[in-house]
């Protein structure tokens, strides 16, 4: 390729483009794959990626790209990188940004932008991406000068991955990327005077917390995603065992403590176990490590842990005291706090009576469901248990949002950290399937299972093409109840069974749909079929989709209805 210059014609190899500098900066951050979708404003970036042979996963919709990057980030611990074009490309990623923001996933997202000279003129495919995404990102930048580009890329990766992780967006005007310069701009140091985070807790807070743990007779630990982000699962297990602390997990914290451990009480909250919710209600010390005290976890705040001293360990000062006032606020990273607690906490009170009491709750009110007696449809909880048995406890599991998500949280029984990928805070339908793509890209040798409902799957199933293209051996389990199950459940419970638009009249044949993408499709409608089909699916090397016909009337229980306290559970 040749370019005209003032001095005549010279080869492009003697100059570099802004996009080359961008790609070089990204590679310097250790990025091994980017998820994206090309378009006009990012053509210079795609040209540079192409020339540098950077691994790029071509999603079939930008939402698919960003959820894949989230799945990648969740299981790898590294920032997921996304590239989208300007205007609609950028607006299509907003849901994923908000999802990653609320669930603390590190992403660095590059969006194309129209050229600087036309910004503000409503040019073709122009959108105010900085304005639109400011509340949905940890931070965002628009690169106005090529000189700033390497520093901004470094700052973006640093901000995304440190403190409370989150998504950072870098908006790239096309002329900045297309610009030719003779040499790379000089490296300049990061300039972030307003970016602070605290990992090491203050000593006096640790002392207060250690004394509270020593004297508590009815303590409970609430383990949130912060434990996983800090890589503190092993520390948590050792500390809980040392002081006989029963552990409740949040939805996103599942896997931070082994499900089979005798001190584990299960998930708490709206669809939590009886033992978990009663432990929170009756405890005298609630030690929250890395949970936001989300409303789905707390239920009615006035009835939440009414007897307890509340200790809240969080890396984000905004979360401490936001929903539940903290008696012992501890700002810091879960690993750093547990390390200090380990050395500072002396012998603690006897808890044998408390543990016996909780054990009785577990035995008297375990999770339970009825096997389907109907011909031609399965109990969804049974399917989850069979999938767990077939996949083994080393599998990475992603879900969408709704009933199937809650059943997976209840019945899958996660033993290991970082093998559970779900959309918690934002509750994004359409998340699970593309997230599995990112997880499988990050962990090519592990079994990855996408458990989705028929509703959410239809929001992002175009990504089947990516699974086929990369031959990703994802096992996609569709819990097909031919309904928007959770919506239907709430309509049954709270709207006198008026099923407004929750039971569509038309559904695709998911088996044929998979086959049309060249992916093996299977169907199971009886327990015998489920057993055979699931066993076969997990023995098949490539991708498989299993359409599991499940009871439409099955509901998620136990349930704490909105506005109720955690001990006011139905379906126990």
């Amino acid at each position: 390729m040749r370019v005209e210059t003032k001095s005549g014609t010279e080869t492009r190899s003697r100059t570099i483009t802004g996009a080359d500098i961008l790609v070089r900066s990204i590679l310097q951050e250790g990025v091994d794959v980017v998820f994206g979708y090309p378009g006009g404003a990012v053509l210079p970036v795609y040209d540079a990626l192409y020339r540098k042979h950077v691994r790029h996963v071509l999603a079939r919709h930008e939402q698919g790209a960003i959820h894949a990057a989230e799945g990648y980030a969740r299981v790898s611990g590294k920032p997921g990188v996304v590239i989208a074009t300007s205007g609609p490309g950028a607006t299509n990623i907003v849901t994923g940004l908000m999802d990653a923001c609320i669930d603390s996933l590190p992403l660095v997202v590059f969006t194309g932008q129209v050229a600087t000279r036309v910004i503000g003129t409503d040019a073709f495919q122009e959108a105010d991406v900085i304005g639109i995404t400011a509340p949905a990102t940890k931070h965002n930048f628009q690169v106005k000068s090529l000189t700033d580009l390497p520093r901004i890329v470094r700052e973006a990766f640093y901000i995304a991955a440190t403190g409370r992780p989150g998504p950072v967006l870098v908006d790239l005007p096309k002329d900045v990327c297309a610009m030719n310069v003779p040499t790379e701009p000089q490296e300049t140091a990061m300039k972030l005077p307003g970016y602070h985070f605290t990992t090491k807790p203050e000593s006096h807070r640790i002392q207060t917390l250690a004394r509270a743990i020593e004297k508590a007779e009815k303590p409970v630990v609430l383990a949130g995603a912060g434990v996983l982000h800090a890589g503190a699962s092993e520390q948590l297990r050792s500390f809980a065992e040392k002081h006989s602390l029963p552990v409740v997990s949040t939805l996103l914290g599942l896997g931070s403590f082994p499900a089979s451990h005798p001190l584990f009480l299960g998930m708490g909250g709206m669809h939590g176990t009886y033992a978990a919710n009663m432990a929170i209600t009756e405890c005298d010390l609630l030690l929250n490590i890395g949970s936001r005290f989300d409303d789905r976890l707390t239920g009615n705040l006035e009835k939440f842990a009414p007897e307890a001293t509340i200790a809240h360990v969080d890396i984000d000062p905004v979360e401490i005291g936001k929903n539940v006032p903290a008696d012992i606020p501890v700002l810091g990273d879960a690993a750093a706090v547990l390390e200090r607690l380990e050395s500072e906490t002396g012998p603690s009170a006897d808890k044998s009576k408390w543990l016996k009491h909780l054990k009785a709750y577990r035995q008297q009110h375990p999770l339970h469901y009825e096997r389907s007696q109907e011909r031609g449809c399965l109990s969804p909880q049974y399917v989850i248990e069979r999938v767990a048995a077939c996949a083994g406890d080393g599998a990475v599991v992603t879900t969408d949002v709704g009933q199937h998500q809650m059943w997976t949280a209840q019945y899958y029984r996660f033993e290991r950290p970082d093998h559970w990928v779900t959309s918690g805070g934002l509750g994004t339908m359409g998340f699970g399937f593309p997230a599995a793509i990112g997880a499988q890209v990050a962990k090519p040798d592990e079994t990855v299972v996408a458990i989705v409902g028929d509703g959410g799957f239809q929001m992002t199933l175009q990504e089947l093409a990516v699974v086929r293209e990369l031959n990703l051996p994802i096992k996609t389990i569709v819990l097909n109840n031919h309904a928007l199950g959770m919506v239907r459940q709430w309509q049954e419970a709270f709207y006198e069974k008026r099923y407004a638009h929750s039971v569509p009249s038309v559904q695709p044949d998911f088996v044929q749909l998979a086959e049309s993408y060249g992916i093996r499709g299977e169907r199971a409608a009886t327990e015998e079929e489920a057993e055979q089909v699931l066993t076969r699916a997990f023995r098949t090397p490539g991708p498989v989709l299993v359409d599991c016909r499940v009871r439409r009337e099955a509901n998620v229980f136990p349930m704490v209805a909105p506005g109720k306290g955690l001990k006011e559970m139905t379906g126990v």
């Binding site: 400011a134 509340p135 931070h139």
Partner: protein, 90 residues
């Protein structure tokens, strides 16, 4: 309750939008606002605003959220100091 908030912020085009987005998240309107570039500092401005918040807890949350913004170097609620007649500098 009316709270007076002072902040040191980066002198960037988007900073006012970021600050007002935080207030908008709490459905708060700004009663008074002034943004002045500091002459003695490199690329920093002083932002002073008065907002009517619901209670002390919301005021605390607001300050935490403002401090979380990467373009805000520091933010503080100076209401009491100002009422005590102090010439507030942050």
């Amino acid at each position: 309750m009316r709270r007076t908030i002072h902040a040191v912020v980066a002198s960037k085009t988007s900073v006012l939008g970021r600050v007002s987005a935080v207030l908008s998240k709490y459905n708060l309107s700004i009663e008074t606002l002034a943004l002045t570039r500091k002459s003695d500092e490199n690329g920093l401005s002083i932002l002073r605003l008065i907002a009517d918040v619901e209670n002390r807890r919301q005021a605390d949350q607001l300050i935490k959220q403002l401090n979380k913004l990467i373009d805000v170097v520091t933010a503080a609620d100076v209401t009491e100091r100002q009422e005590a007649g102090e010439n507030v500098r942050i």
